[in-house]
Symmetry: D2
Subunit: 353 residues, 4 copies
């Protein structure tokens, strides 16, 4: 099924933008673990709207646990279900989309696929809001992984033609909850923010890439061929709306490189065999080699823009001009950074519990 | 398990480079279908070694069906199992790897993960040879898809800094079995071949990208979030050895684009709503929109190169220089083109049967 | 994961006896279907406590839909999540179980498996209350199946040494919502009720068997070997608490029969090949043959009885006498009848959508 | 898919009675294990035909390993594939079945389901011969389990109206390879053999039940609801042809028992809490409690009998009398005993590796 990820630790997301609630089922989580509610809430805030560069809509994103905890607040070995009520629902905003599918949105496929069952309100089940329950599961997994010595950090790697410092130039994982804009280099951060402000003024949006680094994963995790680390991560990352590309280590740069440039030669560090460079992004043959795991995802520009666009009226079958009302994220990638961390945490929690 | 892909049509690959045989189990294939053996053999040849730019090793790759066919050669609704005997096995060639893991190969992770079970001969289960059984399954799926009006074609999109014509400039799927080198544009094909010849002379190898286009898939195929077309394709593609990146439609280029540039505006063609451009690569919200599906994979340079490299002796734990004997593919991507088609066919056969 | 059943239509149950809520995720249900709330509530009542022969505890079992429906109350193609709040929670009742595991209950394995995460309240996740969300999913599936011409009916087949009329003596499926006690033959129904009243007075409980019949399933459904109808039904039925046996058609009686007695000879009816008898219960080689599908499950006596029993104090490790307070179902099978129908419906909905 | 069982250790059976070969894929087996070929062959013999009370057909059942072993004969962590060539193939024997489906066989459903793809030869994929590859996987699993202190033994529990000693009266697991007829009590064994001889003379067959006992499984194995031990065992057991019932512990006897009779009271033995009786068959709430696991399966009489039976000609749609030529097992349960052990071993290997 489409809404579930993971095998040992099965995460199922549910809800639509305007349903009673959105939520997540976390099945397979170890028992006896105390949920760190403060950490969870602080993590959720990073994804929530209402921040700089994001839509000013307010979502309280108050997490309510329905099951899976015992009387002491410890996980009881049964599915943890947590929901967020949809309170700030204004269905009127979306009336014009009903007949005029938004370009590069899922409006058209939703209509074709679900027919009269389609939930048009706020993008229905295709809404980016569904990443909030992913973050609930991710926060629990991040905490679990930290207890096993695994840390995960993502940052905006590029916006338009401005690039941040790549993560392999930095030793430590940057704690993203202490910054306004999730970037490593201050100067580059400013440039990337300028790119966003510039398109914002035009009523346009801009694409970006996110880089993620995972440290502390021991060697030998993952399986050859179809259950390798790359397969699992890629499958999971394309679950995040707007992702159109995924690359590991040197990624698409390998296409331009020679073997003698790209191969990670071996050396010995602290009594262990390790690699001098990390073009393979910590993975060989689908299996971790002990080096940091690094990958990047391409996030397309928010398709909802203020600028006039050509659509087709699904009743008259005539071309019409669509003008999307309301304000939208000029660079959705900014709020996707914690989602990338959350989904990475779900993948690695599956591999390491 | 790592060696299986697909749910409705479950493909399981097995074997090691030097085991008695390699092979594939195809479970879920429709019954009553006649296997087109000629088409199968002609497809297998495209992947086989012994061609221009590839290792001169000869692999007969003779396909033998063990089960799944009835007395008339029709599929009987039970798992189809086909094998290829490993005949040309020279285990001596690989003795020096035992102590000296090859950089950017799976030798080290194989040793760490499988210990004394490790099959060192010819790369064991990590050998690119395992893509041959994938091609058996792929050939059957391609035939099945063709009967449903779906065509799949891949080509070398770039080698080093030389680029072929992108597939969205071409209307038809190019039949790859009629060309020596799987490219669209003749001039660019020549340039890409030169790049390969050049690194070949240096005892080096080079990376490349492969582009694939699928036409004839109806709209509404795929599911939102984790079982979208992109998730399925990405998971499958990283099963091909040496793949380090996957992108759909405009791919990583979206990071540099504005919404107004990237959005695929809608129009009407032959009574159907379609898009003017195809930056989304035929997929919205994980679901096909009826446009051709386009994607690219990054293939790293063959890690086995003649040039001296630094490795570590796993017994003495001392750095040593490794020189890999024998001849290897200077650009493994060339032989990976039919594998990309095969794996795409497996993915779409799963979605369309 | 343990709490999920089904592949095409994935049903996941969650909650504990005393958690905030119990509920179910129904992923894969067709879109555009209107949920029949009246039918749902009437079905839920059949399982609810507070009836004749059942524990007098009151559970409102008010079903609340959190997601999966659009603004018109139609299924939108996304996971349907429905919950029941746990309102009538009296945790005090269960304090003495904490140290004294109840014989033939899951108290001991729960303690050993979940340690300090264990949810002792009301049996935690092992509570029979978890069958309520199964009934929500089942009610939706029953309605869906009815629209495809499939009907499912179960009845108490035996209590102690009293037996109802077997279902193959009856042509029609009996609508269970019109009777107090789910049996076919009135006289036998009275005898079975007497057996229950008799043990009830003794502060004891009694086992029973439930028979289920499914009509309208076309031939050729199911797969050989591990995905046959019997495999799917058996796996699912043992998900109902207290089930200790499952048999199809003639079931364990086949052990005493000769081939010439047990074989279902073939004949022609209304132009179709069918069988004279139905000892195979409508299934050959895992696949439906078009005859009614019949099976029985064995339900053990409720382990919670008023009579004194020997337990062991988990702290002192001394044997102690346990007396379970409160009133419990003297024959839990009575309330399990709709659950058997619900779980059957889930199995066949998976096979037929 | 139908031919696969297990998740961590995935066993896929393939082949038809008269295909080139039948075989098994064992994916997920630990690496570095030496396959005990002698033990494997001795186990295979117990299932092979040509024994007392079985069809005199000779099947060499020579096991050939195609993959999964390294140069030292150790498992290499990759799928182990083993096949048995079908050599003794006489397709003529089955010609009359083509038009006249055998009662209570899968002939009719095979025709309806697979149409012209149907493999009529020797029962095609429905042949009992497919249990041979199950035994290969089972033998490897039995060996693996033995190294973890788990032993599995099955025996004929009843034939017609003759019953063996139940396994809970015996402390040790009986090594079945040392007896001609797999029963515990010598006198009862003789009676059961007489029942078989008696029906054999009549050209008839007889049903039987098999009991299985598993010792050494620690407590806490299994999950609540749908992934309990009973669910897994039941699902797997119905994969064995001719199984029509499955019961655990006291099984269907619970239907006649009171709670005070059926509950397993607790006591302390060797410092551990254990039960006085074992009516629950070692399982509570789907989870092992440390007691021996006991279950029984009902095996229907071989449907292939010499006696004349009524069938229907699928072309003329007229009733015709069918007389099945050749000799068949008068009590197929005898050869199913090692298969029950093998399938149990597959289930528990999945749970314990």
């Amino acid at each position: 099924m489409s809404w579930t990820i993971g095998e040992k630790l099965k995460i199922t997301v549910f809800g639509q933008s305007h349903s009673e609630a959105i939520g997540v089922v976390i099945d397979g989580f170890p028992s006896g673990v105390t949920v760190n509610v403060d950490k969870l809430e602080s993590f959720m805030k990073r994804r929530a709207p209402g921040q700089a560069f994001s839509t000013p809509r307010k979502e309280a994103d108050k997490v309510e646990f329905l099951s899976g905890l015992n009387v002491d607040g410890k996980t009881c070995g049964s599915p943890i279900v947590a929901i967020i009520r949809n309170t700030n629902v204004q269905s009127k905003d979306y009336d014009n989309i009903k007949l005029l599918p938004r370009p590069s949105h899922s409006d058209l496929v939703s209509l074709l696929k679900f027919g009269e069952g389609r939930d048009i309100r706020g993008g229905g089940q295709f809404s980016g809001r569904l990443t909030a329950p992913l973050c609930i599961a991710g926060a629990l997994c991040l905490d679990l992984l930290e207890s096993k010595g695994v840390k995960i950090g993502a940052h905006i790697y590029s916006v338009g033609n401005s690039f941040d410092l790549p993560y392999d130039k930095v030793d430590e994982i940057i704690p993203n909850n202490q910054v306004d804009f999730p970037a490593i280099d201050k100067n580059q951060s400013a440039k990337m923010q300028e790119e966003i402000l510039s398109v914002m003024k035009e009523g346009d949006s801009i694409g970006a890439s996110i880089e993620c680094k995972i440290v502390g994963v021991p060697a030998t995790i993952g399986e050859p061929m179809f259950d390798g680390i790359e397969n699992c991560l890629a499958k999971a990352m394309f679950g995040i709306p707007a992702v159109k590309g995924f690359e590991v280590g040197a990624g698409f740069d390998v296409c331009k490189k020679k073997g003698s440039e790209n191969n990670d030669e071996l050396t010995v560090k602290e009594g262990k065999i390790t690699t001098v460079t990390n073009n393979d992004g910590g993975i060989n043959g689908g299996i971790t080699n002990g080096m940091p795991i690094t990958f990047r995802v391409a996030i397309k520009p928010t398709p909802s823009i203020a600028k006039a666009q050509q659509s087709v009226n699904v009743e008259s079958m005539e071309e019409e001009t669509l003008e999307i009302r309301g304000r939208h994220d000029p660079c959705i990638a900014v709020r996707a950074v914690p989602v990338v961390e959350a989904v990475s945490a779900i993948v690695f929690a599956n591999l390491l519990i």
